[in-house]
């Protein structure tokens, strides 16, 4: 198939990291508004899983990943149309349950043994960033759990099971009211990067590239900013 013609509906499939679900939902609507007759469909999941799916021949048009290593793996295998581009960044904040029961003030509190604190596992980007921030602040943290992703960390904080955790700003925003965010000094030194690329297997490479372009455009960046992401 090619671009929309004669009123028939064309569907493009965007593989998106789970943390982008809501923002990309809006982007998809914006894209459909720009391209009548084109529907955007999302396949959301953990970034490495998405990369594996692409590498195993899953039929997708665009890959938007929260983990650059996943995109580079796909690119290295020659499964992309272009080189991956950064389209958003995210900074870290301390999240505490509503009311801050642990009286957490800053990174130094991560060393307190009377608190239950958590971070992501080292294998995932948010874990690496959290460790870098803690190291920069010379804090030896007493971490009680290393979560596999930000979301489960956030779930835990919301439930009051943890007194504090290091998560993304966008996540704090999404969970507004249930968690409170505390700024971390030097957070801009450790930013998560999000990459997007059109895929080689796309049946509609034109549309795929157009979607990538939309994400990088002013409209796209504004939508992302609304969801707490920093500009690329």
């Amino acid at each position: 198939g090619t671009d929309a013609a004669g009123g028939t509906t064309v569907t493009i499939t965007v593989f998106a990291a789970a943390s982008l679900t809501d923002a990309f939902g809006e982007l998809g609507q914006a894209f459909s508004a720009e391209h009548p007759g084109v529907r955007v469909r999302f396949n959301v999941g953990p970034s490495p899983v998405l990369a594996t799916q692409v590498l195993e021949g899953a039929p997708g048009d665009v890959l938007a990943s929260a983990d650059p290593s996943a995109t580079s793996r796909v690119a290295a295998a020659g499964a992309t149309l272009d080189t991956p581009a950064v389209f958003a960044r995210n900074s870290m904040e301390i999240a505490v349950p509503a009311g801050n029961p642990g009286r957490v003030a800053g990174l130094a509190d991560f060393a307190r043994s009377d608190l239950l604190v958590g971070a992501c596992a080292e294998e995932v980007p948010c874990g690496r960033l959290a460790r870098r921030l803690l190291a920069d602040a010379a804090v030896a943290p007493a971490i009680d759990t290393e979560e596999a992703d930000v979301r489960s960390l956030l779930t835990r904080i919301e439930a009051g099971e943890l007194d504090a955790g290091l998560v993304y700003r966008s996540d704090v925003l999404a969970a507004a009211g249930r968690v409170e965010g505390i700024d971390v000094p030097g957070a801009d030194q450790a930013l998560a990067t999000y990459e997007i690329v059109a895929l080689d297997g796309s049946a509609a490479p034109g549309l795929a590239r157009a979607f990538v372009a939309l994400v990088g455009s002013g409209v796209g960046q504004r939508i992302l900013a609304d969801h707490g992401f920093l500009p690329r």
Partner: protein
């Protein structure tokens, strides 16, 4: 007057130890469910159910879990029979292999399925190019993933049932001229109804709750591969309340199915 007395006699004081242990078990399992229900966003539930995608996911879950159970029955009951009744070398190995998917972390199971049935996979490559069949990202792929993960539960349960059964009834059937196939159909399967029902239930439940293998192998596409657990996953990202509400939908449906099916299937002979 007779009926209650009969009941009274049949069940004289169950032993305290057993009742206490069983009670503990029930409380342990029920508490989290109660907590979940208590914290559930009941007010949202109505609006949630009309959200686009939710009904799709629900329907897809029912269809795929049902299909996976069906496929598991068709392949798994004969498999259990062969394992229990036919002597062949390597039987233990086959039996162990068949039970392995149970212990594989589901995501890895999904990866393994991709390796096998993906477009570049061991078998998938032959399905794709000459035949044009693509399992991943199709509803069929969801069924494949669920079957792979859930069938072993059926096989193990039915095999245990077969091993516990008195084989001499099968002898009797043979003297009446029943081939092994007839015996299987008219004797083994009906006499094993409780074990098969239990196995199918376990299989169905495992398929219905299946997440890791499905998202990895079949992806997460609304209307095609996004089953309810995948929808819960997607929802957890933004709106946790919605995710819990969705899970409750799953729970309620299972409850209805369990309550409805039980008595017909489980009646003691």
């Amino acid at each position: 007057m007779t009926a209650p007395r009969l009941a009274r006699r049949r069940a004289p004081r169950p032993p305290l130890v057993l009742v206490v242990l069983a009670g503990t078990g029930v409380v342990f399992v029920t508490l989290p469910l109660v907590a979940l229900v208590q914290r559930a966003p009941w007010r949202q539930l109505g609006s949630l159910l009309v959200r686009p995608g939710v009904v799709d996911a629900l329907w897809l879950s029912m269809v795929t879990a049902g299909a996976a159970t069906g496929v598991s029955l068709v392949l798994g009951v004969p498999l259990a029979w062969v394992l229990a009744r036919v002597e062949f070398s390597g039987r233990r190995v086959v039996r162990a292999l068949v039970t392995l998917p149970m212990v594989l972390p589901p995501v890895v199971a999904g990866v393994a399925l991709l390796f096998a049935f993906g477009r570049r996979g061991l078998v998938g490559q032959w399905l794709d190019t000459p035949l044009g069949i693509l399992l991943p990202f199709s509803t069929t792929g969801v069924v494949v993933a669920q079957t792979f993960v859930a069938m072993p539960f059926l096989v193990v349960t039915v095999e245990a049932g077969l091993r516990g059964a008195d084989r001499r009834y099968e002898d009797a059937a043979a003297t009446l001229g029943a081939s092994r196939w007839t015996t299987f159909r008219r004797l083994t399967v009906p006499m094993l109804a409780p074990a098969i029902a239990a196995g199918a239930l376990l299989c169905w439940a495992r398929a219905l709750g299946e997440f890791g293998a499905t998202i990895t192998f079949a992806g997460n596409l609304q209307g095609r591969t996004r089953t309810l657990p995948l929808a819960v996953f997607a929802a957890l990202e933004g709106d946790r309340e919605a995710a819990i509400a969705l899970s409750l939908v799953l729970v309620v449906i299972s409850l209805v199915v369990l309550l409805a099916l039980r008595d017909r299937w489980w009646a003691p002979r």
